[in-house]
Symmetry: C2
């Protein structure tokens, strides 16, 4: 698999395990790109590029130039901030032979906008936490008891847990809605947090693999300890979700298991930060991705072994100081 | 080295790399102990024990029983909380053939008590941040301008960064000194934070190896990115410190490089959380330790290569759920 393939991994950062898995899957050449020379994954790739930040207009053209110059077969964005600038480039990249592992542009926008996602869930009957963006509606629902404190506050568009807060009373809401960012508030979820790695066929968008993990402990926004978990109801939830939402490749779904069933928190249309937890227990989405890029017909990826714990620990890479 | 040796590692937790290094150094049998089955290092050892928490009176006897039953050659406590309960056991462990890698009991107490350490530094002319434990003295020094806000507040005895706060005014001080714990406050350090791995001869306490790291980024109290750094002045500082303070084995020193020189923050008399950063660039204190336990004469451990970055990333271990 992937024996003559050249892969570019973007915002390589700490994605060391993904590079190791690509190599194990037989990828011949792995190129890493990051905006910082202190990204450890740069030093396990065959070569690397320092590129502009993905928030700058220079980012997408720089990535395109690398893909063209290096004849990259597969380009993998790994950061939420990579997705928006690259979303429009899928066809152009394809025209010179590079498969960009990215979902359709409207889906990238949907996943990045929590209010659009909420409306999408309502329209498609997908359980999700009750959400308010309009203060008047919220005040009315607070008065009637349909909404109640505490509430989560989040920017409508934000990656990760940046600027997430808690509103305990009306004064907190005043501050939240006075923010320079568009904000929304969400009901508190009574349940257990899950993270699900999903592989979606690059061509059809069909679900080819699902690996759910119950998050037991977090560390700076990434999963530190998890329990691999198999539940047919959760599989059905994921299948239903992606029959309605058009995503592609490896994606990450955050949800809660509540007393009344699963509830969708968000879709991150890129590798989860704990993809290694799934991969190590057999959910090899890297091989599925490489097969998909090579035009092989995809079977269902083997499901993970249930009831294993995934336990993170620190490893380290040394570079020479290049200054 | 260590070919017929049996090593027990306590509070194994995430100390996966230390176990890997012990194995690379030729240790025949590695046993891990932890109070939690979710400690990843348990699953890379040859066998493991679940033991009581080190804060309970059952801890030290449980460790002693394992060492005796398993004929352990070397027992390595790795957590601050391991040290106090084991400090009195060094001779007893030695009597049945187990070397306990631990500093003398008075030094363990010194390192655990920030006020004693401050007085020790004053008495031995070791630069350290100015510290106050008496509110009256502090108020007098604030009035005269010898002390000024903001100040760090810390429990006199605490491990890691637990309950560390900032005092910005007198009211903050009222709250701090009203705490049920004994508290002290420290001046803010104007400088760069360093972490130094040191190997001290188990018998003589002489410094055998020094590996300084400039901390560039922290993550939940551990070093995420560091610059390996060589400076003769820092070497002299460490040599001077341990000619005055009697420690043994692998220890970790936190200090600041200030405009007027190095300033000692604390001594952690156990492996640092970023020991792997030193080991990977050549400061192999594991081999020094095993040679020391085997009674070999120790030479100076090779110094680290300067100007490399140490860059942490997450790796993961799976266990079977044992419930």
């Amino acid at each position: 698999m992937g024996a003559t393939m050249k892969v570019l991994i973007l915002s390589a950062g700490k994605r060391v395990k993904i590079i190791e898995y690509l190599r194990q899957a037989g990828v011949e050449t792995i190129i890493a790109a990051d905006c910082s020379e202190l990204a450890p994954a740069l030093y396990v790739a065959d070569s690397f590029y320092i590129v502009p930040r993905s928030t700058t207009p220079e980012y997408a053209p720089a990535v395109r130039d690398i893909c063209k110059r290096e004849s990259v077969d597969l380009c993998i964005p790994t950061l939420d901030l990579d997705l928006d600038p690259l979303a429009e480039y899928r066809e152009e990249f394809a025209s010179f032979g590079t498969t960009l592992m990215i979902s359709p542009a409207p889906s990238i926008d949907l996943a990045a906008d929590k209010w659009k996602m909420y409306e999408f869930c309502l329209a498609h009957n997908i359980p999700t936490p009750r959400t308010w963006i309009d203060r008047d509606v919220l005040d009315r629902d607070l008065a009637s008891g349909e909404a109640r404190f505490p509430l989560f506050s989040k920017p409508v568009r934000s990656a990760g847990s940046v600027d997430i807060g808690i509103a305990r009373d009306s004064r907190d809401l005043d501050n939240i809605f006075a923010s320079s960012q568009r904000m929304l508030v969400q009901e508190f979820m009574d349940g257990e947090p899950f993270d699900v790695d999903v592989y979606l066929d690059l061509h059809s968008g069909l679900v080819r693999g699902i690996n759910p993990k119950l998050k037991l402990r977090m560390r700076e926004g990434t999963t530190d300890k998890a329990l691999i978990f198999d539940d047919p109801e959760l599989t059905n939830f994921i299948e239903d979700l992606f029959s309605k939402a058009a995503f592609r490749g490896v994606v990450d779904v955050d949800l809660y298991a509540t007393p009344t069933g699963y509830s969708l928190l968000e879709i991150n249309p890129r590798f989860s930060w704990s993809y290694a937890h799934s991969h190590e227990c057999g959910a090899n989405f890297i091989e599925a991705l490489l097969a998909d890029v090579s035009g092989k017909r995809l079977d269902r990826v083997a499901t993970a072994r249930p009831k294993w714990h995934a336990l993170a620990y620190d490893s380290v890479i040394l570079n020479r100081n290049r200054n």
